[in-house]
Symmetry: C2
Subunit: 240 residues, 2 copies
């Protein structure tokens, strides 16, 4: 037998690192991702801390960091909370290059990962026995994206993609999709939202939902694949 079957992936890190930094990162991504729309507020500290599995103290430190960086505005009293004041800026020339450079050689990693999990989610959803409510949620997200203005587009696009993952009912898969999306948000936000691209995406989105609706896993997968490949190709192009 061949001796060195070192499966080093079994010894990968148990924890990501510092709880505070992780939390800042998570919240920041939740904001950029649009899980909380500008003007809305984060859940109450006690709730959020328990959902994130950290103490309120640590969460508060993270929120303060976001406050000092101008992402949220904290108000006290009843109906108070941490309100999102961040509005994703229109991408400027050079943003994309910078974001890609930040990601470094992990770009390919992320793109591969995203392709695998999002295609998998779509296929799983199209194989499942969807409740009418679930289907309605999906249609609603699709309508939201189609009705979005330029400032809302990325946010609602993300919500649509993540809805597919969440509706599979697999929290592991949904988590993986969210993770993939988080890692690529900065890149997506750096791509200008052009009319032509939106229209193209809308057709593809429709194809995805249609495949899911008629329970055609292979078509669902193919549709997602084509949808993501456009972005992937664009980004990989900047590596040359």
């Amino acid at each position: 037998m061949s001796p060195p079957e070192k499966v080093d992936v079994a010894f990968r890190p148990v924890r990501a690192g510092n709880a505070f930094e992780e939390t800042v990162e998570r919240l920041l991504q939740a904001i950029k991702l649009g899980a909380v729309a500008p003007g809305d507020r984060l859940p109450p500290e006690r709730d959020l801390a328990s959902r994130l599995g950290i103490s309120r103290v640590t969460l508060r430190e993270a929120i303060r960091a976001l406050q000092e960086s101008g992402y949220v505005e904290v108000r006290r009293g009843r109906y108070g909370g941490a309100f999102v004041v961040y509005q994703a800026p229109r991408p400027a020339r050079g943003d994309l290059e910078r974001a890609i450079a930040d990601l470094g050689d992990r770009l390919g990693d992320v793109l591969t990962f995203r392709m695998a999990v999002e295609c998998g989610a779509a296929e799983a959803l199209a194989s499942a026995d969807l409740s009418p409510e679930a289907l309605e949620t999906l249609e609603r997200r699709l309508a939201d994206v189609n009705a979005a203005g330029p400032d809302d587009y990325r946010r609602l696009d993300t919500a649509f993609h993540l809805a597919i993952a969440e509706l599979t009912g697999s929290t592991l898969l949904a988590g993986a999709c969210a993770d993939a999306r988080l890692r690529i948000t900065d890149l997506l936000n750096a791509i200008p939202v052009l009319r032509r691209n939106i229209d193209h995406a809308a057709v593809q989105h429709e194809a995805i939902v249609s495949a899911i609706r008629r329970r055609d896993p292979r078509a669902a997968r193919r549709a997602v694949r084509e949808h993501l490949e456009g972005t992937a190709a664009l980004l990989r192009g900047f590596l040359a």
Copy 2:
């Protein structure tokens, strides 16, 4: 627009929980997974601690727990270390039911996740431009499984599956596959290794490698899908 697009997956836990318990779990799974064969030793404490991203103290506590449970044997001095003494027992009647009950309603979640990431990995690998060394590694793992005795089978089967993920070069995807495998190990170990099943699996493994070799992503995906679906169906059957 439809107001409540609560993407609660964005607020999922930042950290898994207790570092000590997480570490015990991880090491235990690494052993059951066969990342370290019986008789072999874990990496030195300092190495391992840094790889796992925890302190040596915490790692030592975890190792001591494994020692007291009889999984490893620790020897001091040069050429010492934590040696694996655990030999996966032949599954007994009722093990599988117990393992499934332990997993509870997360079974579907795990199966869906596993299907998505392993299919994704195979497809990605079949789309990639494999180096001769990579291909050779894959062939070697395949040969290892085919040459395995009953006691080694699960371990080498795991090594084969994880090799596919690792060779994609995407650490995220490899990590996800390892994670999926970890979560399902107890189930797999509870399934008796029958001659008939081994032969069947060997044919499917060959189909997977063959598809990768001739760079046919769709065939690779389909082969993995069929391979995993057998297990999934078997397990789901126990839910009824």
